[in-house]
Symmetry: C2
Amino acid sequence: MKLYAVGIGPGDAEYLAPRAREVILDCDCIVGYSGYMKLMGELASGKELIATGMTGENERCKTAIQEALSGKKVCVVSSGDAGIYGMATLLYELAEAHPSLEVEVVPGITAAISAAAILGSPLANDFAVISLSDLLTPWEVIEKRLDLCNMADMAICIYNPSSKKRSDYLMKACQIALRHKPGGTKCGYVRNALRGEDSQALVLTLEELSSAQVDMFTTVIIGNSATRVIGGKLVTARGYRI
Amino acid sequence: MKLYAVGIGPGDAEYLAPRAREVILDCDCIVGYSGYMKLMGELASGKELIATGMTGENERCKTAIQEALSGKKVCVVSSGDAGIYGMATLLYELAEAHPSLEVEVVPGITAAISAAAILGSPLANDFAVISLSDLLTPWEVIEKRLDLCNMADMAICIYNPSSKKRSDYLMKACQIALRHKPGGTKCGYVRNALRGEDSQALVLTLEELSSAQVDMFTTVIIGNSATRVIGGKLVTARGYRI
C-alpha cells in the first residue's frame, strides 16, 4: 500500500512536474494545509479534499495514514518539495507503525530554487538552507548554524524568515551574518516566488536587509563574497575565467 | 532579446517542469554538454543542437550568446537546476557586455532534491549543499565549509563527490565529517537519481561511506544527529512530537 508525499513546487502549474501531476490525478484523496489547497486548482476536481490548519501537521498526516489504510489512494501535498521542511519526514515517522504502508516522496521545486531563479543565480556555488522557525528547532541551534555557515562564506537561503510572533528574527539573522560578511554583501528576497502575478522580488544589501519587513511567504537569500549584481540580478560567481 | 538557462531536472521527462519543456520546444537552438544532450530525447527533434565537452562551459555559453545575438531563440540546458552548479552564472557574466540580452533562469529539480526523494527525507531540516570539485573552488575553502557545516550538525548534500583525478575526495570529506559526527551517522548515496532504470541508491553509515567507491554521477548525503533509518529509508527528524 502506497502513500504519497507530493511537492507541488511554487504553486503555479507551469512548475509542477508531470510525475507529481500524475500522482495527484490518480489519488482519491488529497490531504494538505488549507492555505495550499487553493493552489491545486483543477487537479483537485472530483477528489476528496482534507484540509487542516497551519499547525495541524500531525493531525494531517495521521488522517492521511488512516485514509490510506482504509484502502484509498492518498497523497499529502506540500508546497515546494515534500522532503524540504515538508510533510515527508512526519509521514515516515507515523507510518513506521504500519509496515504495510510504503511512503513515496515525489520531488518538487523547493522555494530556494524558485526564489534563486527569479533573483538570478545567487546559489550557484556552495550554499546552506536554514529555516528561522523555532517551533521545532531551538533558536540557539539556528543561531549556531547561521554563524558557522556565514563564517564559511556560503550563500544562505532563509526559509520562514518571519511571522507575527517573531517579527525580529530576520534582523537577528542579519546581525549574525554581519559578524562575518560586510554590510554591502548583496542579498535578495522574493515573496510568493513564481506564484503567478503576486510574485515580488527585491535585490538589496545585507545592511538594508537587516531592517526589511518580510512575511512568512518570503524566501530570503544572503550572498557571499562572490555575489554581485549584474543588470539588476543577484549572481554568485563560480570562478570561471571569462 | 532573451536567452534561457534551463534546468532539465534529473533527466527523466517525468520530472521536467512544463515551463522548461515549453521554453525548450519554443527555441531554435539548444546548447549543452554533450553528455546531457541525449537526455533531451524528442524535445530536441528538429532543433539545432550545439554540444560541447565537459570542460567546455565557457565556449558553450559564448556560443549560445552569439547565436542569440544573431536572432535565434536559444536555450542553454543544465541537468538539475541551471542556477545550482549550472550554466546560469556564466551566462549572466558573459551577457553583461550585451545589454540587449536578457538571461532568464527556468528552474528545475536539482540532484539534492531528487536524491533525497529516493533515499527518503534526509534534508527535511537545515542542510548544506557542497561540491567537492576543486576545479573552480580551492580545496581549502571546500574543506573549511565541510568542517563548519558538520560542526553545525547540518545534513550535507555533496555534489561531484569523485572523479578520476580526485578519487579520494569523498574519503577526505568523510574524515572531516568524522571530526564532528559519530561513525554511525546515517548517510546515503544515489547514482543517476530518477534517471530511469539506471538509478542506484544505498543507505550506509558515515564510517562505511568513507571507504565507498562512487563516481561523478553520484549524489551523496551525510545525515545529522537527527537522521535515522526507517524501513530502509533515510529520514531526518524535524522535531514533531508524534
